[in-house]
């Protein structure tokens, strides 16, 4: 019998790296050197926060390139980088460097950011809080996933997979343990970086209820 699914909620303390990029060249250099935690943080902190209005892109790098450097086409390329295609952060870093480098082969570097609008690198220290909520089967899972905070969806879906280096998200792994690979496959086929955690919760909940 599969282990029960234990729901954790998550919070992040933001650690400042003391490094900033004023222009795209400096940015590219730092991207090559900064911690994997920092790359992860800037690609995911959007999902951990709640927003009164969603930023244009969910990844901090794309937002900065668009807003502070004014280089829309590069911002679009960076925004389109889908972390879900990678199972480790180093591969995502390489792809980010490739996208920017390719752009710079074709276009001149954009103007530097105004003072105060540089890119400030940060990383997150994550704290995982047990909710005491568990699910042994799909019925229980469908009930519990509606009770937890959005940070729980964030952790089990994004952070557990990419940051902790697991091959798949916690939800898919649980469903596979129950022998429901059909459900796991449907979860894996989603385009999760296009959703807020609330929408993702509803999608997963809908799939489980539809197939339970």
């Amino acid at each position: 019998m599969a282990e029960p699914f234990k729901f954790y909620e998550c919070l992040a303390l933001t650690r400042l790296m003391g490094r900033k990029a004023s222009d795209i060249i400096e940015f590219l250099e730092i991207i090559g050197q900064i911690s994997p935690e920092s790359i992860f943080h800037h690609m995911h902190q959007y999902f951990l926060r709640r927003h009164v209005i969603a930023p244009e892109f969910s990844n901090d790098f794309a937002v900065w390139i668009a807003d502070s450097l004014g280089e829309r086409s590069l911002a679009e390329g960076v925004a389109n980088l889908n972390p879900y295609e990678f199972t480790n952060i180093e591969d995502a870093r390489k792809e980010l460097i490739r996208i920017i480098s390719e752009h710079l082969k074709i276009y001149p570097p954009p103007r530097p950011a105004a003072p105060g609008k540089e890119f400030f690198f940060t990383e997150g220290v994550s704290f995982l809080i047990p909710t005491g909520l568990e699910a042994k089967d799909l019925d229980e899972f469908a009930r519990r996933i509606k009770e937890v905070d959005g940070t729980s969806i964030y952790f089990h879906f994004y952070e557990a997979r990419l940051r902790l280096g697991k091959k798949e998200d916690d939800f898919s792994r649980f469903f596979e343990g129950l022998g429901r690979t059909d459900l796991a496959d449907k979860i894996k086929a989603m385009d999760p970086y296009m959703y807020s955690t609330e929408v993702l919760r509803n999608k997963i909940s809908g799939l489980v209820e539809g197939l339970a």
Binding site: E9, L13, T14, R50, V52, F120, E123, S126, F127, L128
Partner: protein, 404 residues
Amino acid sequence: MNLKDYAGISEQSDIRAIEAMAAKLAGRTILHVNSTAVGGGVAELLSRMVPLMNGLGLNARWEVIRGTKAFFEVTKGLHNALQGKGKQITKRMWDIYESVNGRNMDRMNLDADYVIIHDPQPALLVGKKKSGNWIWRCHIDISAPDRVVWHFLKGHIEKYDAAIFSVSSFAQSVSIPQYMMHPSIDPLSDKNVELSETEIAEVFNRFNIPMDKPILLQVSRFDPFKDPLGVIDAYRLVKKYHNCRLVLAGGAASDDPEGARVLKDVLEKAGNDPDIHVLLLPPFSDKEINALQRGAAIVLQKSVREGFGLVVAESLWKGKPVIGGNVGGIPLQVIEGVTGFLVNSNEGTAYRIRQLLVNPEMARKMGAAGREHVRMNFLITKDIKSYLALCLAMEKKGESVIYL
């Protein structure tokens, strides 16, 4: 004052996280030290946070350093220099700074598991560090400091175990870990609690401010960085088209001797315009500020340098759109076109005021979005959560994923 009082206001997940982390830290001693017991955002925050931390089973206390008038003149100079707009700090001034910190070191009990020193005034107390985790909590904008002053201070800051800044752009190249924590407001304090229309009207009446036309309000210390003179200029540009009042309300803090000089300039510039109301509020005017913010049509925070500018969050919490300078922590609170407007000039300020005065529905929507933005991001429960997380992070140095 109890964490349970925030249920239904703060995020429920924040309350759960605080309880889980406080249980891990039960009995730990936490000491906060700052430079003034009244006046200014730090004192206000600590007066609420310390009792709440005690209610969570922690052993928290708050101490205030004692300083002379000369000391506070020096630290105001340091404060300005760190914000990039200072005069030279002479050797005599450094001597005063060091000797007052030294006397406080001798006088104060600084033993605690976590010692959190707020701002530059008491920063040298770290010289007495023997044990515990020492954290320097910087509330001001030091993104472009006077290099000589920062060089001197940096040597002391690096004796701490960690530093906290309000905004990521304030981070420095230092050898100790640095964290970002936004400051917060307390929705249940006298400054922010709900007031009735009668209570609001009573305060306006007491200050002789008729509520007969839209009121523009800036609440801030009388400090050049808050640009009260620019606010008067912007008001005069608006006044050509719209009949409105301007209220400039500020307090005097015991560690801010420069305030009197700026107030004099403001009064001169206001002249005898009956629609400009300059209020010098005494300490403990929280209810009055609350009422002024609630009675205003538009709130301004036209700073040219700012630490975080919590007065913005206070005003947004009351459902008011805010027009703020694009500096420090203001852009984190004022989301352009959503919770207010960011401005870079007196003309820009006037333009946005005019825009909101003729679009009351836009102002209402921005105010509502602002309140929700503050609820999700800038309430005291978020701040306590971050402090507790930092304490735990200090005990598990080097770990980036911590299971409770």
